[in-house]
Structures are given as structure tokens and as C-alpha cells.
Amino acid sequence: MKITFDWLKDHLKTNLKEKNLLEQLTNVGLEVEGVQNLSSDKELFKVAKIIKTIKHPNADRLKVCDVDVGEKEFKKVVCGAVNAVEGLITVYAPPGSIIPKTKTKLVVAKIRGVTSYGMLCSESELNLSDESDGIIELSSGYKKIIGKSYFSKSKSNLIDLSITPNRPDCLGIRGIARDLAASGFGKLVDLKKKKIKSNNRHSLKVKISKGKNQGCSIFGSCLINDVKNTESPQWLKDKLISIGQKPISAIVDITNYVMFDLNRPLHAYDADKIEKGIIVRNSKSGEKFTALDNKDYKLEDGMCVISDHKGVLGLGGIIGGTRSATELDTKNILLESAYFKPGSIRTTAKKLNLDTDAKFRFERGIDPLSIEDGLNKATILIKEICGGKISKIDVQKIETHKTKIIKFDINLVEKVAGFKISTKEIFKILENLGFKFKKKNNFFELIVPSWRPDITQEIDIVEELVRISGYDKIRIIDPIKKRKKSTLNKSQKLFHFLQRSIASKGYLEAITWSFTDSNYNNYFRDAKKEVKIVNPISTELDVLRNSIFSNLIIYMNKNLDRGFKDLSIYEIGPTFTGSKPGEQNTVVCGLSSGKKSRLSWIEKERNVDVFDVKKDVVQTLIEAGYKSEEFFIDNKTPNYYHPGKSGRLFLKKDADLVAAYFGEIHPNITKKIDMKTESLVGFEIFLDNLKLPVKTLNDQKNKFNVSDYQKSERDFAFIINKDVNAQDLINAIASVDKNLISNIKVFDVYEGDNIPENQKSIAISVTIQSTEKTLNDNDLESINKLIIETVENKTGAKIRS
């Protein structure tokens, strides 16, 4: 909402300065978004006339115009607008002026070899509207002031307010003035309510049909015959220009003026184009009309339309139609002032994807009691400016406005706000805001003003009082440093731990979108359901991610393109399995590319491999408190991993939930997305599948059992079929005697010379130690034998002699 202090003063008597105004607007909740100084730079923009145009010698689309800017000599201006034709009156910006939209300063410049002195402006360049097709076309009335400033010489700045959706009343200057007055910033000026004194019959029949969900409950109107539509007088033009509106014609300007002044939208019809009478009704599916935005709309059932006997004239409260539009030569006018229901307006506008000033106001709620005030104010102005005969006002109603009454206990103010407002002050504020009240036993009955649809219950009254008194009166109550519940629950603690544990292993934490490109998602979707976004921001972000890999790989690739080679990134966040709330998992996903120790003078460089990520996963899980002795690993992994170089990890052998996957990314994927790296490995740890620790650290640290008896290390080398896993040997050895075997370590794996084909040799070191005694040679010998026997029997391995 744009206002000026000057316009506010039509409604507000105050001696305070603009600086105070800006502060006070913000203090009462009318946030000042910006202040624009119109007077100083904008005086440079002049009304000008194109005298002659010739085609630019070096550019087909450009013209060289001779422009009369009220000086002795015409200015040469290069212009690309199609509508830059001889005789057009428009707005000229001289070199040195700053274009409001782009904030660029104009200079004398050569455009394709022709020097251009300044430019001709479009409405959008002057921030008047979004219209950027062509330059401004001014009416012939401006002929008289060629060379004069287009903008008024008002010294009042343009103040841009952000009005919250609950305050339709502040979409009119008067509403803003009322709030300011209530807060002590001046006094609200009484409106001298002039009424039309007319005995002329309203000869056009208006009817609101009582259809189901009728969106219009009141339709007031007035006929004005024999008007002479003309240009607005300067004061009215200046007023509209001062808030960034473009004057059009007196009739249109007057309706706009009343709308901005009182937040009372009006609509003017050319009465001669209305066939027999007005019927406000619900539309039928398939009905069509051409709206004032020059677009054709096809309607659905149940939209509130203003029609005549021929068909739809316009969408009530949203946009009028071209068929009944007023023009400069319009003689007889029907002026509408109606009440449309916010819900109905919103539904229709949304379905048709229409956004207009009227719609914005009606969907927030217009004062239903402002119908006649609006008609009176507008028709009197029309009569003054355009002449004509005014009829009596006709008001059709299918519902009467019900006054809202709220029971109000003044103690609630202090209970909610934490500070006291005196009863006297409370009633002063409420009165200034337009409330009326009656005292009942221990409470008050408040009558809510008709322009405040947002106020429906006691708490709304509290807000009004606190807001107008000032939020600075709320005192600070310091918080108490007391904790009744632990800050994080176990799963949140685990999240926090895993997040930092992975980073401590050299991974950079990334945060990527929860959505991704379905093409990439498909690589990592496995058997999961695709979750589509109905209205994605782009086709590259069209599905919720089934795996974090999709995004990590996209961004990994971008970093590779930046020339980095050895990258480790990870993300901890959601992946999605369906479109219902809760169908998501928390996953820690990491990706590593390239080499370890690249170009090192001391270490041998090598590609990152599956055992790097296996280490990261296993170490992280151990650090998080899980027992590695119980881990079970096999090679069944989703199809985006290299089938031979990947694994899945369970916390226990019989667990049914996978704790993690790790491995090389399938070479087909890296090939398809053209990743240029020596090696690409990754992992996924599924936080929701990890059992949360039952024991606290305190419990875990209680027992300290170690053996000081001598330990001995024995080495074994087994020859075994290639397809038998090392894990099987280790398990077999561990099963021999859990009390005596304290550590098992694979220290060599060998295939090749001296080993039969399809077999491999695995060398294992076993640490044997008793907690009860020092083992003698016989004890050790029998364990040795047992180990060999067990391994040979369980795995088919042979001890290497």
C-alpha cells in the first residue's frame, strides 16, 4: 500500500513531522517497507511530444525521434518502442536523470552510431505499473503542459507500507489515519458526509439471484446520465501520480481515488451497453467473457458474475468486462458499489489465476457499510468534474450486516501482555478505533466496527490494545535457567554424534535440497517409489530424493569440473519412501572421489577404495557405541553399487534392518553421468535402523576387566576357495574359545604362484590369553590344534604347511 503524508493529512490533523510518522506507522504494525523521494529527481521527467521519427540507419527496430520537450530545439532521442510514432505525447527523461526502476543514471550515449540525448520512458521504467510494452501514451490534455514536469511538485515522499492480510481497513488512507490517531499521532478528521440530493429515478433494474453460495450479498448502484468523461483536473492527477498511479480519465480516476482513500472499490459500467438490467448470479460452466485485461475467460459453475440479459459483464469484485467498459465518449454510467464475500472471491480468482487490486481488497474483506458512502463520494465528484444527472441510490441486499459483539474482560490484557493498561486508556483506544461498548456486570460488551472483519474474539481486542499502546511497554522477564527435560533425546544425540564423527574423518558436510532431478534419482532409486512434486520449481528438481547420492553426485561432479580431484563430501538428512508424512528416513551419506596421498613425496598414492569407506562406516559405528564383534557384513547391496565391491552391514547377524551400505558406485552410473575421476566410493548409514543405546555411558564404564597373564600370538596360514569369505575364517576361529581368543587379525591375503587356481591364502594372527592363568605349552598346543581343526571343518580350508 502506497501513501503520502499529504494525502494522510486529508484525514489526519497533526503537527508532527514525517520522521515521526514513519516511526509511528511501524509502531502500530503498519510496516514501512520503503520511502521514495519523488520530488527531487522526478521533477526532471518531462511531458514531451514526438514531432518526427525516422528509421535508425543501422538498426531495423530502432527509431530516431525528434522530441519537443518545451525547449527551443527538439531533442534527438533513439527509441525502440513500436508505439513511438509522430504526434505521441509521452514522458521524456533527460541525461542526468535516474530511471526509477533500474536506478541507472542516463548519459548522452551513442546507440548504434547515433547520439541519443535522453530517453522516452515506459510505465514500468517509471515504476508506475508493470507495463513495459512501449512508452507511456499520455492523453491529448497533456499538450498544454509539454516541457513541464510529469510528476507533481508535491514535496511529500512516497511511503510504501506492508499491510498484513488481517487489516483490509488499512488498504485505505482513512484506515491508516484512524490507527495513527488512536495511537495519539494527531486527530482523525471528521468526514463531511455529503449525500446526493436527487429525485431522479434509478431506471436500471438490479437483482441479486439467491443461488446457492451466492458470492454477493449487497449490490448498491447509482445511474449518472449525460456525463462528459474527460481528463481529470490537475489536483486529482497529482494525487494519483503521487502514489504511483497513472491517471486515465476522470471516471476511472475518481473510482480509483475513492478506492485508495476509503478502501471502497467501485466499478463503472457504460449503462447504454447493459442489456435491460443487471443480474448478479452464479456463472454456468462454459460461459465466457472478455475482461478488461483483454483476456478471454471461460468460467466454471458457481462463480459470482455481474450479468445482463445477454450474458456475463464481469466477475464481481475481481474484474470488469470489455463489453460494458466506460470510454471517453461514454454518456451514461452505472456506478457499482457492492459487497462480495472474501471466500467466493478467492476461490474464483485462484481458479482463473487472476489477481487485481479489487480482488486483493475484497478477499480481505471490505466494509459492508461503506456502500453508500462510496457512491456518494464518487458521484458528487463525477458530477463536479463530468457533469450529468445523478439518480437515487439503489441498494439490493440478500443478507443484512450483522454487528459483531464481543464479551470482553479487561483483566485479559494484563494476563496476556504482562503489563497493565488503565481502564480509561483502554476505552480511549477502543473508542478511537471505532468500537462502541456497554458495561455488563464484570465484563464489557464491545461492538466491533464494520470495517474490522479480523476482530472476532477477545484476544483480538487484546492485540488492538497492546499494539496501540506500544510493544515497547512490554517488559522483559528474564528466563529462568532451569531444565526439566533433557535437551536432546537419544536419536537426536545419535544424529549429532554421527554428523560430527563423519566430518572428523575428513568429509565436508554439505546440505543439498530434499528434492532432486528425477533422472539422477532413478540411478539411485533401487526399488523405491518415486515421489513426484506436483508443482516443482524446475524440471531438474521434480521429485523428492529416494537417496542422498543423487544430489551428492551432481554436486561432486560440479566440484570435479572446478578442477578438484580428491573430494570427500557427506550429508545427513532425509530421504523419502512415499508422499505421506513420516514416510522418510534419516540417512548419513558420504561420497569420496579420486586418490589418497596424491602427489605426496612421502606416501604412495592410491585410488580411494571400498575399504576406505568400510573403515569410515565401521569406525563411526564403533565410535557411536556399537560392538564391532557383533557386526555382520555380506555383499547384498542395491543396484547402484558395484556388485562385487560393496557390502551391507548389520549390527548383529540376525538383525533385520540394514545399518549401512558401502562400496564403489556402479561404473555404469559414473559412465552415464560422465564423471571424470579415478575412483568413486560411497556409503549410507541408516540412522533410523540403528538401535538406540540402552545403556548409558555411565553403565558402560562400570566394569574394568583385564588379564595380566601372559599372552601369546600364533600365526596361521590357510588355503581356501576364493569364494569363501575371510569373515567365515574369523568366525570359525572365534568360535573355538571365546574366553581364550582375545584378538584375531588378518595380516595377509595372497593369490598367485604356489597357490592353486581358484584358491587363496589367508594369513591370520591369533592372540591367546587366559584371564585365569599363564598358559603352558600344552595348553597352547591344544588350542592351536583345535583352531586348525575347526577352521578346516567349518570352511573347507587347509592349513598351509
Partner: protein, 355 residues
Amino acid sequence: MSDLKKIKDELLLKLKSKLNLSEVNQMKSDLFGKNGLVSSQFKKIGTIAETERKKFASELNVIKDELQDLINLKIKEIENEEIREKLQKEKIDITLPERPFVRGKIHPVSQTIDEISSIFSEIGFSVEEGPDVESEYNNFTALNTPENHPARDMHDTFYLDEKKERLLRTHTSPVQIRTMLKDKPPFKIIAPGRTYRSDSDQTHAPMFHQVEGLHIDKDINMGHLKGCLNYFIKEFFELDKIKMRFRPSHFPFTEPSAEVDIGYEMKDGKIVIGEGNQWLEILGCGMVHPNVLRNVKVDPIKFQGYAFGMGIDRLAMLKYGINDLRAFFDCDYRWLNHFGFDPLDVPTNYRGLSR
């Protein structure tokens, strides 16, 4: 006795020359070995006249100790020299680079979430979470934003079905609803997390982070809200003095509602938070609307309290001088390295938020 004197003098002479360890050991055994020069003198003791014997023995012992000390000293000297030479040979160019290492980093948003959690932990808030995919009811209707409410226009929503019943949450406020439906009052929670709006330009990302706060009890009023946020802002920006302003605003789920601004000034093109004369909006808050409490079966006559919501990314930008929101999610290795935090830099109450 002259024999002894001769032995000593000879030894002293020999020790003056350059010797290695085995030569000295040879000299040692020549003197003190089974048939060594000194040993054989001891054997003589028996043959010496009784009157002389005592004197001879005592002198012999003195000489023996003297000789032994001389030899041991020499051995020590040689050993020291050997070690010195060995160390000298082992000398390397210590300016060569250390073995390669890689350093991981925590994303500034994660760090900021931990900072926020740490601050609110101190004053008794616990952390709650909710799903990213929400029902239209939890995200809007339950929060007093019924269908056709114009406030919905401010939330450009991503939908997951044509009926618009499932969506990506546009704010963290639905966690309020979930928390209050699940438990009984009092409530004192914060809820950080991802939020989504179908809006993307230089200052808007389709995904961003918010933290929600909710404190409901029997007598919580706007003074508590102001106190809580005043505490938070000072702790978060690690400043004793910071200007804060509450200004009336509107959110459908709070009443009265406020937006909170903090003071700042521009210095050398950078925002400096504190006591400057400019205002910067950093969060929205208010007293939970009675309609919301009724929707979650909490009696608004008995219970009341406040809620707030703020943008985590924005807080991180202000605190750590990050200019571009889009870069948070762009995953540029250089950016992550530059703005990331060491994983061991865990913000806690006792060691403080930052170094």
C-alpha cells in the same frame, strides 16, 4: 709400588690417543681380567710381608678404583661420541611437508543449529522434530490458517498430490501441532529443521531452515516472550549490548503477533550487529492463538504461551558474514571449506559457542 705407578702412567698415555669401544674394553680386560695387570697385583698380596701388606693392599685398591674410573669415563665419552655421530648422520630436512591429512568440516547451518540448541537448552527448552512432508491440516488449517485465508499466499507451497492434501512444510510451525497433540502441557520446545517454499531468486531458496519455539504454561505472557528472545539474541550474537525492537505484525497462529528487529550499522560494506541505528528484521513471534490451542485440545483459558520462528540460514549469514543464501546449498568445495567448522568445535554451554 713402582709397578703400579707404571701401569697407571701407561694407561693415562694410552687413553690420550683416539680409541674405539673395543680397544678400551681390551685395555679393561688387560688390566682387570683374570690374568690382568691389576688382578695379578692382587694375587701378590699374600706374598708380601705382613708389615707391608696392609699398606700395599690399600694403595692397590685406590689405584684400582682410579684406573676403573678412568676407563669407564673413556667408555662413556666414546659412547656419547658414537650417538652424536649417529644423530648427525640421521639429520633430515624437517621443512619437508608432513604426511598428507584431510580435514572435514561441519556446515555452517548445522553449526548454527547446535549453537541455537545450546542456548535454548540452558533455559530449559528441549528439541522436537517433525517430518518434512506434512498434511495440509497440520501446516495450515490447525494453525488457524483455513483454506481461502490470504495468509496462505505468503507461503508458496510445494504440493505432493493434486488434491493439495500433502505438501512440503512451509514452516516449522506444524511441529507445534504435533508436539501439543502428542503430549500434555506444559510445553517448552524448539524445533529446528528444513522448510520449503516454491520461491527461488537471489535472496530466496526453495529450501531453507527455520527454528520454531513454543512455550506453553499457565502464566506465560508477552514479557516472558520478550525476555526469552532478548536472552537468545544476546547469547547468539555473543554481544552484551544489542538493540532489540518488538513491532506489531500478523501471523494467523499467534495473537498478538510481533516481528523482532535488531540494531545494526554498516561498516566497510559489512553488517555490524549491535547498537547501530538501522533495524534488521530477524524473526516473527507472538502469543499462541487460542484457536490453535483449541485445535490441539489445550484449554486456552487454563494455558497460554508464546511461539516464535526464525530463519536459521539468515542467522548464520548475519553472524558469520555470509552474503549469499544460495551458496549454502551449492556445495562448492571451496565455500564449504571456508565457512565450515571443525567437527571438534562443538558449541556447548560451558565452553561457549565459538572459540
